[in-house]
Amino acid sequence: MTELPLIGGAPVAVEPQLSGAKIGVVTFPGTLDDRDAARAVRMAGGTAVALWHADTHLADVDAVVIPGGFSYGDYLRAGAISRFAPLMSRIIDAANSDAKLPVLGICNGFQILTESHLLPGSMIKNDHLKFLCRDQVLRVENNTTFWTSDYEAGQEITVPLKNQDGQYIADEKTLDALEAEDRVVFRYVGWNPNGSRRDIAGISNAAGNVVGLMPHPEHAVEPGFGPESNAGTDGLGFFTSVLNKIVGGTQ
């Protein structure tokens, strides 16, 4: 089923062969953005599959999105309890396997991926201690990951940012390694909104199949809802990137 935007025409010409690609969207107790993430998958032309945290199998999906929200109320630490959900064990195994399951963690999903050790470092409270919601400019530093191949290297995109625990931290050795291995995928442009080390907004694993970021591309997939300076569809490339990768990989 292809999703139509509420305003105007389809933001991209949907390619029929992409609908064969199934992207799972995981819901935990307290997840907020699963419906938007599923809608983003459909807007990009793919098929969204709802996954529940207590599931013990991955339903043959070709990729997984772990959306934002406040899973388990952020109790203990953001993402800490979700990391031990039955489905997360399957996702961790599949992401680390030779099949290299593509996994995207957005906001709370990024926090879950660091708690799972699929991505290094961690997030702590914003340096200014406030919840922040704004349109945020990001620079795509690496367009060779599974989730960023439809962007130009160095391209600047604007997507919403909304969080309280968004300050990315890691020790200097880890940060140096991330830079050296081209694993800083997104950096904040203009202003660092939370004190993240080296303006890092998103990173990937070594293979490039696992990507996590704090801002929300799934909220920027259809025209008419973004800032005036921009069409509001800058986030769509995440989803078309992975769909093209999946379809290309199976042909």
Binding site: L76, A80, I81, S122, D127, L129, I169, A170
Partner: protein
């Protein structure tokens, strides 16, 4: 019922934004003798029966795997408190 107390603190090299906010609020209440505050977490694990070495080992493992994140936090104390 005995309890196992686990104390977790942010790593010393990591700026603790909450502690920083608290140290800013103290002088406003007239508490002027404190130059820094760091905020941690205390967990109390209740045990039905005696705390054996095996149970204490389990508590230490839980402290390292779930109760703390070694990237940002240290387990600074694990001790048995008799009720």
């Amino acid at each position: 019922m005995p309890r196992i107390v686990v104390d977790v603190m942010p790593k010393p090299e990591i700026l603790d934004p909450q502690g920083k906010a608290i140290v800013g609020a103290l002088p406003r209440l007239g508490f002027t003798s404190f130059s820094a505050v760091r905020q941690g977490k205390r967990f109390e694990l209740t045990v039905d029966g005696e705390v054996t070495d095996a149970i204490l080992a389990q508590a230490r493992e839980a402290a390292e795997t779930l109760l703390s994140n070694p990237v940002i936090e240290d387990v600074v104390n694990v001790e048995v408190v008799e009720a």
